[in-house]
């Protein structure tokens, strides 16, 4: 009874109708959008600051909560939230970087990891105490409610928007970092901060803003998630483990790697949900293990 689709002779693959498969692939792409957005932020932070940001999941959750608070306390809806939330949550990131992370750059990765992990636990605990775990409702923006029938599946308009917005943000970020002058400063600063500073560029400030930007990406993903998932304190905790696996598979710090891997793993996970749903929460880790055996630096990473 595992595969719920009835097998018909011609138009099916392993008992799954081709049309249904298209639907599942599209769903995979949508989930991949979230993986890509989140792993992109992690990759930016790791690539440029060498910090493994375990607070990322909590910052994603904060994004959703700030959006919830904006609508309930200030009456500002989804579109405002998309703009305001990344700025607000990004600013908390800037404070964390200035007060704490900046003290750790000279130390081993482990210290940054421990600090950010501890922060994540504290932030989640605070939200859990205040809001409980059942989650809070967040309304879908009216403009994106409803959906259209694509023939092979019913696609909610909001999910289509998730793919478009996430692709736009991902490509924009990649472009800025890899193809612009600002990006070249950033990359140079990670290789040799002293030299870049000698050219009159304020490296510490650039690093601070980079962290703030990475955090803002997480918060942006949180706002995107609010209308489709329950806004709850542990929403980031479960996701972040998967996202770390995505980053590891893509190659730590590789911008393009994280984007491509995010979408690709969304697809693979989507297929697993059709053929063997019980394994859908482990398949990514199996892939991670295989990739690490064959290419320890990840698919797009370079061995330093």
């Amino acid at each position: 009874m595992r595969a719920p689709f009835r097998t018909t002779a011609m138009d099916s693959i392993f008992g799954v109708p081709v049309q249904a498969l298209f639907g599942q692939l599209l769903i995979g792409l949508i989930n991949g959008s979230f993986y890509a957005l989140l792993s992109l932020g992690l990759a930016v932070i790791f690539g440029l600051l060498n910090i493994i940001n375990f607070t990322h999941g909590a910052q994603y959750m904060m994004g959703a909560f700030v959006a919830y608070l904006l609508v309930n306390k200030a009456g500002l809806g989804y579109w405002w939230a998309l703009v305001i939330v990344p700025v607000v949550v990004g600013a908390t990131g800037v404070i964390i970087e200035r007060l704490m992370l900046s003290k750790l750059y000279k130390l081993d990765h482990l210290y940054g990891l421990l600090l950010t992990f501890g922060l994540a636990l504290i932030i989640q605990g605070l939200f859990r105490n205040e809001y409980g775990t059942s989650g809070l409702p967040y309304a879908m923006p009216a403009e994106l409610a409803g959906g259209r029938n694509l023939g092979f599946m019913f696609l909610p308009n909001y999910r289509a928007w998730v793919i478009v917005a996430s692709l736009g943000v991902c490509i924009g970020t990649w472009f800025v970092i890899e193809k612009t002058k600002l990006g070249s400063y950033l990359r140079a600063a990670t290789e040799n901060p002293a030299l870049v500073q000698a050219f009159g560029i304020n490296v510490p400030r650039m690093i601070t803003l980079t962290y703030g930007f990475g955090v803002a990406l997480a918060a942006f993903a949180g706002v995107m998630a609010a209308p489709i998932y329950q806004v709850s304190p542990q929403m980031g905790a479960d996701l972040i483990i998967v996202v770390f696996a995505v980053v590891v598979i893509g190659g730590m710090g590789s911008i393009m790697g994280s984007i491509v891997t995010g979408f690709a793993l969304g697809l693979i996970e989507g297929l697993t949900k059709v053929f063997y749903p019980e394994a859908s929460n482990t398949v990514i880790f199996i892939i991670m293990a295989i990739v690490l055996m064959i290419k320890p630096a990840g698919l797009f990473g370079s061995q330093k």
Partner: protein
């Protein structure tokens, strides 16, 4: 969180006084074990500790000179963590009885440990009907509800109104499997059919893939054999994917008051499901609900909280009568004594450990019908106690002669 974070909060409910001679170490220790941080934390969690303390207070333990302590731990929905806590409690901390334990996987493990150690286990949170069926134990009482009762109440009601073809979204562990099995039996018995099922991991965020499969099955009813955060996420996303607009109906087989609160009436309205307790039933339940909410961050009691309260009350009565806290004897005494408490009324506990009381078939109100915060249910029918639960002879429990 993945880190081991067994938080133990102890509260002394009664001051000194000469305890009965045969109560071990002079203190009755009650352990409340449940999900303190994840998807079931609002419907069990600290609320169950609040309920246990209220029961101790209402029992009048202090006045009667009985010293009762409450311990709490988070089992993180992991059977190994739950088992480790249970062993630690029984062996080291001298806990006499464990209460609540949502998550059927953990409850089955704790039931076995309790039996081995000769202690007492009163389940409120877990659902699997196996606890009073093939896995029944002379040391376990299953208080509040079970999967057979849910299937019988909700399943029957839906099949009767024409919902005769089903597709299941099932949480992939002991509870989901039991709920799916018991509901499928009801559907097939009433002449309906099951077109397919898909098993999702516990604590799933995104249900779209599974919902798409449910949609493709063309089943009239999409049965949600899951609970807590899984149910609310599935319901929320089902509305996004136009499941109900497309002519299919959702059947939440296990929905709690806190889930409805989390979803909001806009999304939850019209859902029909079975409960055994609702705070707005009568004067006594309303008084309990109000007192409970004040002590529990405004969150009103779920049937699980009510079950912990009633279970602790009945347990203490048995200990008092026996003047002993020997687990096996207390459970036997609890079964011999008719139950009577303000939340479930008069009832009894059967030889297989099943506590029987009436079940309520409820429907979630429309936003316009709700007059006050937490005013969520219309009670459509009351299923009498003797029909609400699986007949004793059908469970396959070895304790039934």
């Amino acid at each position: 969180m993945k880190l081991k974070q067994t938080v133990i909060a102890a509260a002394i409910a009664a001051l000194a006084g000469t305890a009965s001679a045969q109560v071990s170490d002079g203190v009755i220790k009650i352990g409340v074990l449940n999900d303190g941080s994840s998807l079931y934390a609002d419907l069990t969690g600290q609320g169950s500790v609040v309920a246990a303390r209220m029961a101790i207070e209402d029992f009048g333990a202090a006045k009667k000179g009985m010293k009762v302590e409450v311990l709490y731990a988070d089992h993180q929905n992991k059977a190994d963590v739950g088992s480790a806590v249970a062993r630690q409690w029984y062996d080291v901390d001298k806990v006499d009885a464990i209460f609540d334990v949502p998550n059927s996987g953990v409850a089955l493990a704790v039931s076995q440990i309790t039996r081995d150690k000769g202690k007492a286990f009163v389940v409120s949170g877990a659902a699997t009907s196996d606890l009073t069926g093939k896995a029944c134990s002379p040391n376990t009482i299953h208080w509040t509800y079970d999967t057979w009762m849910l299937a019988n109440g909700t399943g029957n009601a839906i099949v009767k109104t024409g919902g005769d073809s089903w597709f299941f979204l099932t949480a992939d562990y002991a509870f989901g499997h039991a709920l799916e099995r018991d509901t499928e039996a009801v559907v097939l018995k009433s002449g309906g059919k099951v077109l397919g099922k898909v098993r999702h991991p516990l604590n799933t965020q995104d249900f779209s893939s599974f919902l798409l499969q449910a949609q493709a099955s063309k089943a009239k009813i999409v049965g949600l054999a899951n609970a807590g955060g899984d149910t609310t996420n599935a319901i929320k996303q089902a509305s996004e994917f136009g499941i109900v607009k497309g002519g299919q109906s959702l059947a939440g087989l296990l929905v709690f008051l806190t889930d409805v609160h989390g979803l909001g009436l806009e999304k939850a309205q019209g859902l029909i499901f079975t409960e055994t307790f609702y705070w707005d039933q009568n004067a006594q339940t309303r008084a309990f609900g109000k007192r409970f909410a004040t002590a529990n961050r405004g969150i009103h009691p779920t049937m699980i909280h009510a079950g912990v309260y009633a279970g602790v009350l009945h347990y203490l009565k048995a200990v008092e009568a026996l003047k002993s806290d020997d687990g096996t004897k207390v459970i036997a005494k609890m079964k011999d004594t008719p139950t009577d408490d303000p939340l479930f009324g008069k009832g009894r506990i059967r030889a297989d450990g099943r506590k029987v009381h009436p079940a309520l078939l409820v429907e979630v109100k429309k936003p316009s019908e709700s007059k006050a915060p937490w005013d969520y249910y219309k009670i459509r029918a009351t299923i009498p106690a003797e029909q609400a639960f699986r007949p004793e002879k059908d469970g396959g429990c070895s304790l039934v002669k």
